[in-house]
């Protein structure tokens, strides 16, 4: 299988968007569509201008972003769309109306009616097509739309990357993102767990600076899966691509629709692996505990049973959440206990409905608390030297079905 094609699919879903005008009425025409299991789903994310026109209120000012969804059900049973799958912190239509009406009762009544009418309403009966909006937290440039549809005894999951208009350029006019990342001869598909482990343990310990001369944060994460298994898991648990970090390969590949300048001065630093900066950077959404957990992923030339293998780095920024913390002059940018963020992700993913295997293996190299290593920004960190491997699957997986790979038993 061509990695380049997979990569393109990761970026933009399986369908080619048809049009990219930013006028306020044609979001449906740029919708990304997928069909599977008797379901046809389409999604499009509205720009600030489009949502203001449609909702009659500047939703983006409260960082609310409507996603248009249409579901055609050709199965034999009713389906329910699950809004928390798109965004665990989504906004009920009535709540958004209250936010926009301020305290004006007439305005509230009008907006409430309007927002309620625009909302996606369950169920989707057999043979029917239902469309409407789910109100999510605002993303700029690119939005991952995760659709979980549940019926009696079955569930389907679709992930789509949608473009948010209003950015310079015309992404689909260019085939540049279909550029091959790896030549077919470079790609190795592992079907043997021991060989896969050996290959993963042979990877470098750390990401580096641009010319590879200095070691940065430890590569403590391996994510196995792609658009329909790993990404749904991350999105369901509130992970979202960070706007600043659509850089590196994906930015280059998609440079005609993402404004390069926008990111040139971004505060998030680039780290390097395989000779390029991270392909994806994500952060946990909003104000919950893992808000400042950042993860960077690079697509590797490996496959595991045909699935994409991403090598990654996860760490947590600490310091500002607690209300009484003292001002301090000696701060760390990252939690020096980098294993904590790695464990937190692993535990969180157990609740994602998609984690099917987890394991730990060597490769990072241990660093003791009293002899910490430093990343590129001279933040000290210590670690047991392990990297975690998370394997995702598309079929829903219960907490009691997660397999533990018999590799390293962590002993901290």
């Amino acid at each position: 299988m061509q990695i380049a094609a997979l990569f393109a699919a990761v970026l933009f879903g399986c369908a080619s968007p048809q049009q990219s005008s930013t006028s306020q009425s044609d979001y449906k025409s740029r919708a990304v569509t997928r069909t599977e299991g008797g379901l046809r789903v389409s999604a499009a994310t509205l720009s600030a201008e489009e949502s203001a026109a449609l909702y009659g209120a500047p939703l983006a000012s409260q960082r609310i972003q409507p996603v248009w969804i249409e579901v055609e059900n050709r199965d034999d049973r009713p389906y329910f769309l699950l809004s928390p799958g798109l965004d665990p912190n989504f906004y009920p239509a009535s709540e958004a109306a209250e936010a926009m009406a301020q305290s004006d009762p007439d305005r509230l009544a009008e907006l409430d009616r309007r927002f309620h009418g625009l909302a996606f309403h369950n169920p989707v009966p057999p043979g029917a097509t239902v469309s409407g909006f789910v109100l999510t937290n605002l993303d700029e440039a690119v939005k991952v739309v995760q659709l979980d549809l549940v019926a009696n005894g079955r569930a389907w999951s679709f992930s789509m990357f949608t473009a948010v208009p209003g950015f310079r350029g015309d992404y689909h006019a260019s085939g540049v993102f279909r550029r091959e990342l790896y030549a077919p001869g470079q790609i190795v598909n592992y079907t043997d767990d021991a060989a896969f482990r050996t290959a993963l343990e042979a990877l470098p310990c750390c990401a580096t600076n641009k010319d590879g001369s200095k070691k940065g944060d430890p590569l403590n994460l391996v994510v196995v899966g792609g658009l329909d298994d790993a990404f749904p898991a991350l999105v369901r648990r509130g992970w979202r691509p960070t706007e600043q970090t659509w850089s590196g390969s994906i930015l280059r590949m998609a440079s005609s629709f993402l404004s390069r300048e926008r990111y040139a001065y971004a505060p998030v630093s680039n780290l390097y692996l395989f000779g390029r900066s991270q392909d994806l950077a994500l952060q946990k959404a909003r104000d919950n505990i893992h808000q400042r957990n950042h993860l960077r992923l690079w697509l590797s030339p490996m496959l595991y049973h045909g699935k994409q293998v991403w090598i990654g780095q996860i760490s947590r920024d600490i310091g500002s959440r607690l209300t009484i913390h003292s001002p301090t002059l000696t701060t760390h940018k990252i939690d020096p206990d980098v294993d904590e963020a790695r464990a937190a992700l692993m535990e969180d993913m157990a609740y994602s409905q998609s984690l099917v295997k987890l394991g730990l293996l060597e490769g990072v190299g241990a660093a003791a608390r009293r002899a910490p290593r430093e990343n590129l920004t001279t933040d000290p960190y210590y670690t047991d030297g392990l990297r975690s491997v998370l394997v995702f699957e598309r079929r829903p997986v219960s907490l009691a079905d997660i397999e533990v790979l018999p590799w390293v038993a962590v002993a901290r």
Partner: protein
């Protein structure tokens, strides 16, 4: 201000950097009042730390940080390593070093490093090797009174879930409580057990439509309180009863349990108030309740005390159903009539059946009861 005066002020503000590593970190007191449970070869014990315990073990009072430390011990009697999944205990738990940060002092250099090391040492560490016991602290968000404490212990293709009711020191009677003590107890003669889903539905449709105060009873939860609690905690619902909740009366009494979803802005969010009904299904408890969210939602001021229900209670009900699909605890779902209908309500109540065994999205059985129709 002179440089010297500035320095003096900084030192004064810094509180002299006097943290001392506590000498007494014994968990004997916690162990003696811990609440325990055993299942599938795993034994879990837990106790909420008092302010005194916290000062004694951490050398600082964390209550101002809005952190509630809980001591947990897990005895692994199985033949495989097990992991405690902290996300299942509190999706917004704090890491040890995050909490340590709150105790840092200005110009504290080596003292701050010692604080970090101390907090990290006391934090709970995975995994729990076969045949071993591990104890440590989990830093959770505070709950008052009786804490609904969920512990999910993960092994190879195994999950052993526990739900404990932990007394919060100085706020609840010692010794813990069982679900039966928390929920209302009916004499056996007043309970009707149903074995047939159709008969259960009919009984549920005969339950009161609203509380005496008029808010509709738009949800029914079927299952033991432990199973319901596990599903709710995994989705960030916690026990949190306020005055407005306790004014609601059904069956002539105030709600048995009130849960509230914790949202990022920390303003009051969706609540579930439940009353045990004089009905069981296959011997399992049945609760009838109200699900709603307060007027203003997340955009209300953080100190808002207006906890009136927003009129669109159907929306809150439907979103609860969706949330529970991800809980791993939802077994069956149906909609029955019987809730007080209103201008904004279809009069249906969502009936959610909970199970102990973990379930995925594809395992939920959706009953063909009353059809949910687009409003």
């Amino acid at each position: 201000m002179s440089p010297l005066a500035t320095l003096a002020l900084v030192l004064a503000l810094a509180g002299c950097a006097t943290w001392q590593a506590p000498a007494d970190m014994s968990d004997a007191g916690l162990r003696s009042r811990a609440v325990s449970a055993t299942s599938q070869g795993v034994r879990v014990s837990a106790a909420v730390l008092s302010a005194d315990d916290t000062r004694r073990m951490f050398g600082t009072d964390l209550s101002g940080a809005q952190v509630q430390p809980v001591w947990v011990e897990i005895q692994n009697g199985t033949s495989q390593p097990m992991w405690l999944l902290r996300t299942g205990t509190d999706p917004d738990y704090f890491s040890p070093l995050e909490v340590a940060w709150s105790a840092h002092t200005t110009l504290g250099g080596s003292v701050n490093a010692a604080i970090d090391e101390h907090f990290d040492k006391l934090g709970f560490k995975n995994p729990i090797a076969p045949g071993t016991t591990r104890a440590g602290i989990i830093f959770t968000n505070p709950e008052r009174g009786m804490k609904l404490f969920n512990v999910d212990v993960l092994g190879r293709q195994t999950l052993v879930p526990f739900t404990l009711f932990l007394p919060v020191p100085q706020q609840a009677p010692a010794g813990g409580a069982t679900a039966a003590q928390i929920a209302f107890l009916y004499p056996a003669s007043e309970l009707t057990d149903y074995r047939d889903l159709g008969a259960l539905r009919a009984a549920l449709e005969r339950l009161p439509g609203a509380a005496a105060q008029g808010e509709p009873l738009n949800v029914v939860l079927v299952g033991e309180l432990e199973d319901i609690g596990a599903a709710m905690v995994r989705r960030n619902y916690h026990r949190d009863a306020r005055a407005a909740d306790l004014n609601q009366q059904v069956f002539g009494r105030r709600p048995d349990v009130v849960l509230r979803k914790q949202v990022e802005t920390r303003v009051p969010s969706t609540w579930i108030r439940v009353w045990r009904a004089p009905v069981t299904f296959e011997g399992r408890a049945v609760y009838v309740g109200q699900v709603a969210r307060p007027v203003g939602g997340r955009f209300a001021p953080a100190d808002a005390t207006d906890l009136r229900a927003h009129a669109d209670v159907d929306e809150a009900r439907n979103h609860l159903v969706q949330d529970m699909m991800y809980s791993g605890g939802l077994d069956k779902l149906g909609f029955a009539r019987g809730a007080a209908a209103g201008a904004r309500s279809d009069g249906l109540r969502a009936v959610l059946f909970f199970a102990t065994r973990p379930l995925s999205l594809a395992d939920v059985q959706i009953l063909e009861w009353a059809p949910l129709v687009k409003p």
